[in-house]
């Protein structure tokens, strides 16, 4: 499952972020996952629990926000919600080619504790 690979990459970025900001412990992470990305939150959580053991992020909460799939209609210029992955504008029936959200897979925020020493 690709969730494992995603968490592996996520932990690498978290580690770097923690070092850059002198965090000794990471307590929370927030991730945005677009609907198109087919990430299963439960599998992400499981992979995170297992793979974060022994890292700065062990025990941290992982918050995954799902981002709805939206596209812009080239004909009527409106941004419409894409339901059930059917890429047609509900108003004019034209094909939707320009995805504006729903493909992202981003680490948004890291929450953690600084060390005691200044």
């Amino acid at each position: 499952m690709h969730e494992t690979s995603i968490i592996e990459e996520l932990l690498a970025i978290v580690q770097r972020t923690a070092e850059e900001n002198r965090l000794v412990r990471v307590t929370g992470l927030s991730v945005r996952a677009g609907e198109m990305r087919a990430v299963v939150p439960e599998l992400m959580q499981e992979a995170f629990t297992v793979m974060s053991r022994g890292t700065l992020a062990e025990g941290a909460t992982l918050e995954i926000e799902s981002v709805p799939l939206k596209a812009r209609c080239r004909t009527c210029r409106r941004i419409v919600r894409v339901e059930q992955f059917a890429f047609f504008c509900p108003r004019c029936g034209k094909a939707l080619s320009e995805i504006v959200s729903g493909k992202e897979l981003d680490l948004v925020q890291v929450t953690g504790d600084k060390g005691d020493s200044p």
């Binding site: 690709h2 690979s5 995603i6 965090l23 198109m36 087919a38 897979l105 948004v108 890291v110 929450t111």
Partner: protein, 230 residues
């Protein structure tokens, strides 16, 4: 303390993919990332293509497989100009970092096309770019009509859908038109070719597509050399 990061989690993969891509471009190589569910016929397509285009195109193959080297041996026998096997050691997809070391010793200058046969899986391979020009997805008629709806990213990201095993249609209830409709719901305008890697039906259209993409590739990065028609 809160730190705002706002970074693509797969950024490291994108960066390695960009390096792979730069290497492909230097060699003006057309690179396809070939994907499907297990057994849809990726290796069969390669075998047939290699035999039919022998002497016309120099095709190299990277085989991504979880365990065995069976597919690599099949394409080698079929006449691939270069074959490299990647054992993903359990991973259900290839990523750019697995491809990069394979390219180090590859005779890229002596190839026209490099096909990367991904691990049989309709979910994960679509998530990881490897530096390819095109994703090509294969779906066998035996898989039914609902695959595009269930695996939208794969069908959305692919430039070409090959509907394979059409020789089996007389034995099935599946309608080609329904498969096309399902695919174009997710990806309007998707190029679709119906083929049989067993009988060869429909494959000339695939070969024509390959050659036209190769020509475009060469025009795009050839910087004046090899510029044929305007």
């Amino acid at each position: 303390m809160k730190v705002t990061v706002l970074k693509d989690i797969l950024d490291a993969n994108h960066q390695v993919a960009a390096q792979n891509r730069a290497l492909f471009e230097r060699h003006r190589l057309l690179v396809l990332n070939l994907m499907s569910s297990p057994g849809a016929g990726k290796t069969a397509l390669l075998e047939r293509t290699l035999r039919d285009l022998r002497g016309r195109l120099r095709i190299g193959v990277i085989e991504g497989d979880i365990q065995t080297t069976l597919d690599a041996r099949r394409v080698e026998r079929a006449g691939a100009a270069w074959v490299h096997q990647i054992n993903t050691r359990g991973a259900c997809h290839l990523d750019a970092g697995m491809i990069a070391p394979a390219l180090a010793g590859a005779p890229l200058g002596r190839l026209d096309v490099l096909v990367i046969e991904n691990v049989g899986n309709l979910v994960c391979p679509a998530e990881f770019v490897v530096g390819e020009d095109h994703k090509v997805v294969l779906s066998a008629v035996t898989e039914g009509e609902d695959k595009p709806a269930k695996y939208p990213l794969m069908f959305r990201e692919s430039s070409l859908l090959l509907v394979n095993k059409i020789d089996l249609l007389p034995h099935l209830d599946v309608k080609l038109a329904a498969i096309h409709r399902a695919a174009r719901r997710v990806h309007p305008g998707l190029r679709i070719l119906d083929v049989s890697c067993r009988t060869g039906q429909g494959l000339p259209a695939f070969y024509a597509w390959l050659e036209s993409q190769l020509e475009r590739r060469r025009k795009g990065t050839g910087r004046g050399r090899k510029r044929t028609r305007a």
